[in-house]
Amino acid sequence: MTHEIIIRNETSNAKKSPIAGSGTAATDTTSNIGGGMTLQQGAAKGLVAVNSYIKPFVDQMITQRVTTVSLRTGAQELEERMSFSLNVAQKVVGFGSSVAMGALVGGVPGAIVGGVMSLMTMGIEYSNKQEKINLQHGVENIGLRYVNTRAGGSVASFSGRRQKHQ
């Protein structure tokens, strides 16, 4: 006995929105661009499509190229810097995307909220990293203070100088 399971997507023709509450008369304040979609809905859909299908594809191609620099050439620092540049570019795109999405969903206030949220996320990320480094620095400093006590309270001296005295 065999069973057949059929999966049917009945939202593809926008008969029903996958988002609860969307598509109602109360929210449909924009012009219709055909196919039952408003301009905003079309733009949002396009943006989602870019983020979902095109960006990952391009990301992967560039990322693959960037993350193999040190393997190909041994230039680790170049890879780090290119990775960072890529990361910045991604964040800029992410920022723009957030602003655009915000604008599409909530107009200018939405764009501002989207932009602020994106910047805040970035800011918190770097702030957390810096705090972590500061804490590591502090822990090391206390340890080094004890090492320096063991070393007799002197400052570390480069090889040539110490030689003169010994």
């Binding site: 040190s70 190909r72 002197s154 001296s157």
Partner: protein, 949 residues
């Protein structure tokens, strides 16, 4: 000829001639005596013999004696005595390991300028002249911001307008990066002649001076130009006087036999030589478990002398005198051309050699930095970076500046940058131990790994080129240390990868970095050393000649080989003389001239007859013991108290428990009255004095008498007839580690750190200690649980300890790790008393009291009478056949000045008595004697004493 011989101050008659000889090397002078018809059966080894011939005294000790009773049954003995010079006594003294490391000290001065990272923003109308300025100096000194005219050049400046100098001084702080200290704001007419600006610095640290300037001349806008300088301020720490030969000998003699501070050492250096030896700087000797003779021989090897134990001003054999080998004094027999009775010449192929062939590892030249230094790849050249891994791709993560030999020290490291500028970056090279003290985060020279390279002493290659401090941007936010260094040295910043070069298929600049290094290597070599003069046509013979030092100083080894080959295989000749007295007998080492050649007197053999003296003098050409010491003068270390090499110094202080007749305590024993109770309790095993000594309360004192209290665990154990108590320090600086609560801002926690027991130089002058059964009871979270072993945790009734105000002399050096062993040994002054090992083992200072279920001691002892003789090395008696006549259980012997085991009336018949463990039969004490019922057995007394006699 008037001759007198005494043995242990007793006159004896001897058969003539009396013969002795003296040799110019480490062999000791010897003599033979024939003593006739004395009642002494055998003279003890070491008995002092004094031979007086005329007005000359010679001291010897007996090294061998063979006697024959002549005639048999007469009670008179003829002895053939072998004598040796008293220096032999020094071979019987084993000295704890001693080291003589000099202090490093730190004397920073203004003259020592090192490069600093100077950031600047210089406008086109200014040229930077000095981009490095760093001073290391003492606190509370005034530093001067250099004249601006020495730092920059003001292009086209006419002096028409005034210039405003604005200088900010910051202190770099680990939490507050730039802490402003002072502001200088002055106006000058002519910037070329601005006086240096003084800045008072009072605390050690890193400082930054930020200098800005401006002018009212609108043509030359200086307002946005600035220059930053970093400098470091450190404490000056005065080095101690370096060790000299006199101070080395005095310390070795002082510590040859452990003693309390109130006791004078047994030996002293000849005062007549002290002043001369004070002028000779000593290398950093390390004597590990040598005899005193070996120590003095090694010192003699350095100063070219041979040590002798002679009679000093006190009249005792207590003075060390060195016979110096490089004398220039001519012997009387030479200068006065005394007639001789015979002359012989000899030469032997066994000794014959014309050159030495030596393969030596670990050679290093530390005496002259310019000699033996290696420049790689060669003067004028540069070599790119390499990897330590063979056949690996050379990249940023594994690049090193390769050297072909292990490095002892770096003299110069130069880099060539992408603009073909050569930068001296020597000052950025640290030894590994110093590198470990640099911050991984701090971005300043000289405290950051971001501005440092390193090598490990004795290993190849300079490393650390690819270090980066962490940043929020990851690796992209920081530069490699080598990039920072090159920028600071030459200003070239182009070595760093571009942020986005767009060119990701090149290997970048780092593998192209090229360096030139000049360093002192540790190397191996095969060396041939020929005699300076060889007769034409002479047979050529080489000999293998090796050495065994850890690190060999090239200059010393060269001298050593030069001397060795010069003295080997030379023809020798002897001359014999007959004289009426000893006046003309030469001293060894004096010079004898013959046909224009100079010889050293290397041996003198003397025969004293009743009417004359005959002596034979052996002479060697080029005799010497040049540079017997071949090690390096000083081993490199980063820390004042060496972090690198340290030696265990096991101090042993021994007291005796003398069993038999009572003896007086000499006041030097560390075992106290309570120790007597402990020993008495070895027999009775009562509950009192029954806790083993497991805790040492120790305090070391440095040279300024500052105390360092500690509480240390003790290993207590019995070895044969002795109890041994051992405790020691973790290393040459610390007694152990403690836990310290620390923090800074949000960072909190417990850090592990050292418990020092020495001063800044690693010295400790004396020590007091007390051994007891327990310390203070501690609860969870008590401060002492964190600070131990630091601190004085009250021990209670210490059974063993140094007397009040009379500490143990230790005089510790920076490279010694202290271990203390206290030993209490049972010996007897009764010849026939048998001491069983159970006496030490059953003593509750080293073992735990065992009880049965009734609470009675299991191992209490009793006096038994046995009917079988006890062998000298028997360990137990048969309890089933022994008669118990006195039970010590819960009946401790009386303790007064000594422990009184008492007089017991026997209730049994036997051939021996024994005090034995009641449960095992193991013997504590025993004596063979006929015993009848009613006989009183006089049991021995037990007394404490430091010295046997």
């Amino acid at each position: 000829m008037l001759t007198q011989i005494t043995i242990n101050s007793q006159n004896v008659r001897v058969a003539m001639p009396i013969k002795w000889n003296a040799l110019l090397d480490e062999r000791l002078d010897e003599c033979r005596l024939s003593v006739r018809q004395v009642t002494t059966e055998l003279y003890p080894i070491g008995a002092q013999v004094k031979i007086t011939v005329g007005y000359t005294d010679k001291d010897f000790i007996i090294s061998a004696d063979e006697s024959v009773e002549v005639p048999p049954g007469s009670g008179k003995y003829d002895h053939e005595l072998s004598l040796i010079e008293p220096t032999k006594l020094l071979e019987g003294i084993v000295v704890e390991s001693l080291t003589f490391a000099n202090s490093l000290g730190h004397m920073y001065g203004n003259s020592e300028a090192s490069p600093a990272y100077a950031s600047s923003q210089i406008k086109n109308d200014l040229l930077p002249l000095a981009n490095n300025w760093l001073r290391r100096t003492s606190p509370a000194r005034t530093l001067y911001v250099p004249e601006l005219g020495n730092l920059i050049k003001f292009k086209n400046y006419t002096g028409q307008y005034k210039i405003q100098i604005y200088a900010l001084v910051y202190r770099y702080d680990e939490t507050e990066y730039d802490k402003q200290l002072s502001v200088i704001n002055n106006e000058y007419q002519d910037p070329y002649y601005i006086e240096p600006i003084p800045i008072k610095i009072t605390e050690p640290g890193i400082y930054r001076i930020h200098i800005q300037w401006s002018s009212s001349d609108a043509t030359y806008r200086f307002s946005n130009s600035y220059i930053d300088y970093y400098f470091q301020c450190a404490d000056n720490l005065t080095p101690l006087p370096k060790w000299n030969i006199c101070s080395v000998i005095n310390r070795a003699l002082n510590l040859a036999e452990p003693h309390l501070q109130s006791v004078s050492p047994r030996f002293m250096l000849d005062p007549a030589q002290a002043a001369e030896f004070e002028k000779i700087l000593a290398p950093e000797f390390a004597f590990t478990k040598c005899t005193l003779k070996e120590i003095l021989d090694q010192i003699g090897g350095f100063i070219h002398g041979i040590p002798r134990l002679i009679r000093g001003e006190s009249g005792e054999l207590d003075t060390i005198h060195y016979d110096m080998l490089n004398g220039t004094e001519e012997a009387l027999i030479s200068s006065q051309n005394i007639h001789y009775i015979s002359e012989t010449h000899s030469q032997n192929i066994e000794d014959y050699v014309t050159e030495l062939d030596s393969t030596v590892d670990n050679l290093v030249n530390t005496l002259n930095s310019g000699e033996g230094a290696v420049t790689e790849p060669y003067a004028g050249g540069f070599k790119s970076v390499r990897s330590e891994e063979a056949y690996a791709r050379i990249e940023e993560g594994n690049m090193v500046i390769s050297t072909s030999l292990p490095i002892y020290s770096v003299q110069k490291l130069e880099v060539i940058d992408t603009k073909n500028q050569v930068g001296d970056i020597t000052a950025y090279v640290f030894e590994g131990a110093e590198y470990g003290r640099l911050s991984s985060f701090d971005g300043k020279y000289p405290t950051s790994k971001a501005y440092a390279l390193y090598y490990n002493l004795g290993e190849k290659n300079i490393k650390g080129l690819g270090f980066k401090s962490p940043t929020v941007l990851g690796g992209a936010g920081a530069k490699y240390s080598i990039a920072n260094i090159i920028k600071a040295a030459t200003g070239d910043d182009s070595i760093t990868s571009d942020w986005w070069s767009g060119d990701d298929d090149t290997a970048g600049n780092y593998p192209k970095l090229a360096f030139r290094i000049t360093y002192t290597p540790i190397f191996s070599a095969r060396i041939l050393q020929h005699k300076p003069y060889v007769e034409p046509g002479a047979l050529k013979l080489a000999m293998v000649y090796n050495q065994g030092a850890n690190l060999v100083e090239t200059r010393y080894y060269g001298e050593n080989m030069r001397g060795a080959v010069a003295r080997m295989g030379n023809p020798e000749f002897t001359r014999s003389y007959r004289m009426p007295n000893l006046t003309y007998i030469p001293k060894i080492g004096e010079i004898f001239k013959r046909r224009g050649d100079e010889y050293y007197i290397s041996s003198v053999t003397v025969a004293v007859y009743s009417t004359c003296v005959e002596f034979t003098v052996g002479m060697s050409k080029d005799f010497n013991r040049l540079s017997q010491y071949i090690g390096i003068n000083s081993e490199w270390r980063a820390y004042e108290v060496s972090e690198r090499k340290a030696y265990n110094r096991d101090i042993i202080y021994r007291d005796f428990c003398i069993i038999g007749d009572s003896v007086d305590n000499d006041g030097m024993a560390l075992a106290r009255e309570s120790a007597m109770y402990y020993i008495a309790n070895a027999f009775s095993h009562t509950a009192l004095f029954s806790e083993p000594l497991t805790v040492a309360q120790v305090t070391t004192y440095d040279n300024s008498n500052k105390p360092y209290p500690m509480t240390l665990p003790v290993v207590s154990t019995a070895f044969g007839n002795a109890m041994v108590f051992s405790f020691g320090m973790a290393d040459n600086y610390s007694a152990g580690s403690k836990s310290v609560y620390d923090g800074n801002g949000d960072i909190i926690g417990y850090w592990q750190t050292d418990v020092p027991y020495v001063d800044y130089y690693g010295r400790a002058k004396s020590m007091k200690f007390e051994l007891g059964p327990s310390g203070t009871a501690l609860n969870f979270g008590d401060a002492a649980t964190f600070t131990l072993p630091q601190g004085d945790e009250y021990v209670g009734y210490g059974a063993i300890g140094t007397p009040d105000n009379n500490q143990l002399e230790i005089d510790k050096n920076g490279t010694e790790i202290l271990h203390i062993n206290y030993q209490l040994e049972f010996v007897s002054n009764w010849n026939d008393l048998i001491i069983g090992s159970a006496l030490a083992r059953n003593c509750l200072m080293v073992s735990k009291r065992e009880t049965n279920k009734n609470g009675d001691a299991v191992h209490a002892a009793a006096v038994y009478v046995v009917n079988k003789k006890v062998g000298r090395f028997d360990s137990e008696i048969d309890l089933t056949s022994a008669m118990l006549i006195q039970d010590y259980r819960n009946n401790m012997p009386i303790v007064a000045d000594s422990i009184m085991l008492g007089d017991i009336q026997s209730t049994a018949v036997g051939v021996a008595w024994a005090i034995a463990d009641q449960s095992t039969g193991e013997i504590l004490l025993a004596q063979n004697m006929e015993i009848s019922v009613g006989d009183v057995i006089h049991l021995p007394k037990i007394s404490l004493r430091h010295k046997l006699s």
